[in-house]
Symmetry: C2
Subunit: 401 residues, 2 copies
């Protein structure tokens, strides 16, 4: 019997408890032992829960219980999750978390503490919810040099963009619908401004390249400026607009990493990932493109990934898995204005001539009162310079995905 | 240092050797030790290979070398691969294979021998080439009851169907093009008649449900009867035709498993998987649909999956991974004529009336000299019975994927 604790009994935590209870036999076959929930940490009361006798408000009851070997951290937020997880790892307990904020902010430190104490810190659920991505990237694709990772990493923004693209719904209306359906929070800033996506691409980049990439100074652009006009022009160019988290390593070893809306070809495997779904493309030097698709959020999908990590912790109680990256000071990050891309522009028609003069072989894809243009591949800095003094209606990267 | 051997120096085997040589540093970081190729078994001579001094024609040199702990079997075919792998496992060596024929025919037996000898028998490369699927199914999705697995598991047939759908190319012409481009073999029977796909769906089913499913008595239908007319009518019904390997477990615990061409909705995630690419959808009760996409064959993608397994064997030299299924006599397989589906039919117009009379609420999607119909959901047996005496031009399952 493997005794575990769950910290947090919200959307994901209650799912973890439910899966462990309802999938007992399946989990037993996978690990050869029963997983038993000994404690659940939550400040609220759940008198009607069938697990009511396991609840505690006192973290120390988990920390000091020598029988508890594995803990699921599904509280969210950095504090006190970080302090709790640090103490648990230091006490020789393995931890499985769905907390992307924690992993993005403190991953290197927690992996170090885990290593020092010969326990595991796993976080499959922190990116892509129920989509397997951390383990495939770390194990199945281990024989590849990862050239690029690009993903639709946030379901809320993808839902909104899909409504704009497929139903011609405006941004505000689509956001309201997302909120109504439970795909967006009441305060949607973290999603629509790209902060959620940047945490996830940083986690993937840290894992793929072995150094912690902190989200703080990474260029992060949301979808709040995307209009129906942009969507319409994109369609004329046989593209859709998606919010993409992207990382690639350049020949000089610098890392080009950012979150931004992008025009991507309708033929891209990411173009057909719609609504609240997520998709992650990994470009390996041996495999070429591999894409993972599924529900990137939600109680049961996310909880099932946490439970898979609990099982893995249970299988590796006395030895560490090779999942590790070292700390860094983001020293190799390419400044965003050096990032190279073709750019989709919407300008007033009066500005077309000067744009053509400055950019050279710019491509005109539509014109009328305003015109839509595609610049040649240049650095963001060069593009900004060419646009000085021009009234830019829209400016969206073009992705080669 | 982990000493390994590679059996076979063909398309995949030479890729394995190349990756281990060229990705030395990456692999070292993943496992903490160097992987060293000590022997390569092949009956041919490779005097110009940089590894020329490692070649042997004598299997016993590998079997009896106590330093060799992990062996890659990339010879293909059942014999002598089966005899060699059995002996290696019995001698305490772990084996990684890309040989789907071997795993589909002898998986249960080899897993048993591996278990008895406390070593690993891994086969990530046997399904989906470079696409991670075995490990995600076995580990990441472990907290799910798998309701269904459906996949485009054969790149050759998917390439041919894509050319028929997108370019209006006839079957014969598309097959010739596939052969010219190296996507089809000179004798394409194993691919176009579905035998390759059935091995792969059997491996996935065995893994997901814990019992060996043997391909021999599984309904296997290829794409040789698919015509441009079928493709055209499918389009009218907003569908594409794909060769699908499918398995689901029914409420009475019987397994509905087969390989057959299917009409699937253009909105399905599998519909946009084109050309030589593979895609596998796993329906978990917690995750809902998760899809894996990538190159299902080819030297480097497949070899990189074998190398990932070699790394995993190297990490688990003294303990077994939980990857296992027991033998079975296919006793729970649903007879194909009890499998339930809606069916796309093309009949001569003169037969429409009698079809409507027999099927009841049949749906007419096109008519002229001939008519295209969709039957209600019935068993294959009931459909066959209703079609008695009718000249059926085409009959293709409709998939709910």
């Amino acid at each position: 019997m493997i005794e575990i604790a769950i910290m947090g009994h919200g959307v994901v935590g209650s799912g973890v408890a439910e899966i462990i209870t309802s999938h007992k036999q399946k989990l037993y076959s996978a690990i050869g032992e029963e997983i038993h929930i000994k404690k659940i940490l939550d400040l609220r009361e759940f008198p009607d829960s069938p697990l009511a006798d396991r609840f505690t408000k006192n973290f120390d009851e988990i920390l000091n219980d020598v029988e508890i070997r594995v803990v699921a951290e599904v509280m969210g937020g950095i504090h006190p999750a970080f302090e709790y997880v640090s103490k648990l790892l230091a006490a020789g307990k393995s931890v499985a978390t769905s907390n992307k904020e924690l992993v993005a902010a403190k991953g290197a430190e927690l992996l170090r503490i885990a290593k020092e104490n010969n326990v595991n810190f796993l976080f499959e659920a922190s990116v892509g919810g129920g989509i397997p991505i951390i383990r495939p990237l770390n194990q199945c694709l281990v024989a590849n040099n990862v050239k690029e990772i690009a993903g639709i990493l946030n379901g809320t923004t993808n839902f909104i963009l899909t409504k704009m693209i497929k139903d011609g719904m405006g941004f505000d209306e689509a956001l309201k619908l997302a909120q109504k359906l439970g795909f967006a929070e009441r305060n949607p800033a973290a999603d629509i401004e790209g902060h959620d996506a940047v945490r996830k691409i940083c986690i993937l980049a840290s894992l793929a390249y072995g150094k912690h990439i902190y989200p703080d100074n990474i260029h992060t652009e949301g979808i709040t400026n995307i209009t129906l006009e942009d969507v319409k022009f994109a369609k004329k160019f046989d593209c859709v607009i998606k919010l993409i988290g992207d990382v690639k390593v350049l020949d000089d070893d610098r890392m080009d990493i950012f979150v931004a809306p992008m025009l991507i070809s309708k033929n891209s495997q990411l173009a057909n990932i719609d609504n609240e779904f997520n998709g992650i493309m990994v470009r390996g030097d041996c495999t070429d493109d591999v894409v993972f698709y599924g529900k990137g959020a939600g109680s049961m999908p996310t909880a099932s990934a946490v439970v898979a990590d609990i099982v893995d912790c249970g299988k590796h109680l006395k030895r560490r898995k090779f999942l590790f990256w070292v700390d860094s000071d983001n020293e190799n990050i390419l400044p965003y204005n050096e990032s190279r891309t073709a750019m989709f522009l919407r300008l007033k028609s009066g500005d077309k001539a000067v744009a053509i003069e400055r950019f050279g072989d710019i491509q005109v894809i539509a014109e009328g009162d305003e015109c839509a243009l595609i610049t040649p591949v240049l650095t963001i800095g060069e593009i900004e310079q060419n646009l000085e003094g021009i009234d830019v209606l829209s400016k969206i990267r073009i992705g080669d995905l």
